[in-house]
């Protein structure tokens, strides 16, 4: 087993005006190469903080973070992030948004034609070849998120980090994109860390589900292996007893063992 992303004894304390806020405490997590890991928990449990730590957007106040054997010292293109609200630059077309990333990662090594080809390929991968000249405001929310995924994938990251990528989308679009993401990940063999609060999404997509306890001082409560064979079929799984068993395991964790403090 290759440890690809490692978090060892990671703690995160935010200094706010009202004093120190302990968001994460003693988080230990190892992610293998090519693995799809979901981080799930109630809102406010620090799951996005985990992602931002791996992304390097935040630095841990305690513990060690490694990616591919090297310490995570800041953000970098080898850990691409798909943000919840797509974060496309509105003054650039879809193609230009993707190209910005491609240029940054491969600009020194490849010709202009190769860079343009990479941009085209990334957009084709998410099925948006027809929209490459459109601006973000001219396309739907689902398409924007696909551009965000294309931008991240175009960098050929070691780890793809998804921060509730489909949270802002309607149920049908979300299901579509989940299916597409599964295909893309299967094709590219990406290592993926996804933050979500959607139990079905977590079970459908993941190899393992990391369940977080409630904050403050949240940590990894339990890790569930999702040993469903791939490729997975949404409709077939709905009837699958094992799928439903896994699903209820996550639900039990979230609603019995670690019910949301407000709901309890």
């Amino acid at each position: 087993m290759e440890k690809y992303v490692q978090m060892e004894g990671v703690g995160m304390v935010f200094n706010s005006r009202r004093g120190a806020f302990v968001a994460l405490k003693d988080v230990n997590l190892t992610i293998r190469k090519g693995e799809f890991v979901s981080v799930i928990g109630h809102s406010g449990c620090g799951k996005s903080t985990v992602l931002n730590l791996i992304a390097g957007l935040l630095m841990p106040t305690e513990g060690v973070m490694l990616c591919a054997g090297r310490e995570i010292a800041g953000p970098g293109p080898e850990r691409a992030v798909v943000f919840q609200n797509h974060s496309l630059l509105p003054w650039l077309t879809c193609s230009e948004n993707v190209h910005l990333a491609v240029e940054r990662v491969f600009g020194g090594k490849e010709s202009k034609a190769q860079l343009a080809e990479r941009t085209r390929a990334a957009l084709a991968l998410v099925g948006l070849t027809h929209a490459e000249l459109k601006y973000p405001a001219e396309i739907s929310g689902g398409m924007k998120q696909r551009v965000g995924i294309a931008r991240a994938l175009a960098m050929e990251p070691k780890v793809l980090l998804l921060d509730e990528p489909f949270g802002a989308l309607d149920a049908l679009t979300r299901a579509n994109l989940q299916d597409e993401l599964m295909k893309i990940v299967a094709a590219t063999g990406s290592t993926v860390v996804m933050v979500t609060h959607d139990v079905d999404e977590a079970v459908l997509l993941s190899d393992r589900i990391v369940m977080m306890t409630n904050g403050p001082a949240a940590t990894v409560g339990d890790i569930l292996e999702v040993d469903l064979p791939r490729p997975r079929e949404r409709l077939a799984l709905a009837e699958d007893p094992h799928y439903n068993h896994l699903r209820s395991e996550v639900l039990k964790f979230l609603y019995e063992r670690h019910a949301h403090p407000l709901a309890a």
Partner: protein, 297 residues
Amino acid sequence: MSNVVALKKIEAEPGQAQPARISRPVAAQPEETGYRRTVAPEWLVTGLQRGIPMLVGVALFIAAWAILAQQSQSLPGPLKTWESAKQVFAQPFYVNGPNDQGIGWNILNSLQRVGIGFGLAALVGIPLGFVLGRFRILGDMAAPVISILRPVSPLAWLPIGLLVFKAANPAAIWVIFISSIWPMVLNTAAGVQRIPQDYLNVARVLNLSEWKVFTKILFPAVLPHVLTGVRLAIGVAWLVIVAAEMLTGGVGLGFWVWDEWNNLNVEHIIIAIFVVGIIGLALEQSLLLIARRIRTE
């Protein structure tokens, strides 16, 4: 890209009402956003809807002026002023010694001073605003100084200018510079600070170079704020020039106003007021036009 296409990317929600179907979208929108998107027949309707009240307003104003002038012995009425204006503008570029030149020269001289002072202010103020907005320490350092200097009346700077430059003309330009720089510094800095964190996160994740961050993220995101600052600044500059020239003399609208006051030629003072107002309006409108052009590129 057509206008419609480019405009949409700035608006928050594509699902908002279609302006083409609203009868008075232009009037309803604040000038800040000013996205005009009217089609030909609507254009005529909107033009009339706005134009007629405008004409009525101007007519009422002139009528009130005429009535006031009739009550007063010293205030010339609209007709008298009009006759006088025809003479003034009949020969705009005569030169009759250093203290008696045509209105055209006065306008051009004032515009030149504003142009130089304002141009220098933009050259210094916009980059300064970027730096102060981008680097928090510098912004915090500059904050108290700017807070103290900004509310100072522009003319209070005139003696400093006279002292340093030992001449009236550079001193007037200095006053324009120092009074028009603040809106540009502050608006640019505020714009830089108000860039959504998401865009900056994108920059960090992509590990973009500082130059790319500037050209691809900071500059496009801040441009509307910069243009607002520029527009406010040119308004201030034009506001200040008349007062500055009254004190410094030379050729210019401010000096002309003062000179005509000494001659007790009230018609000319009123003409000067109109000229100053119309040019100020034209400056502002042309900047709005530029802003719209750039935003709809």
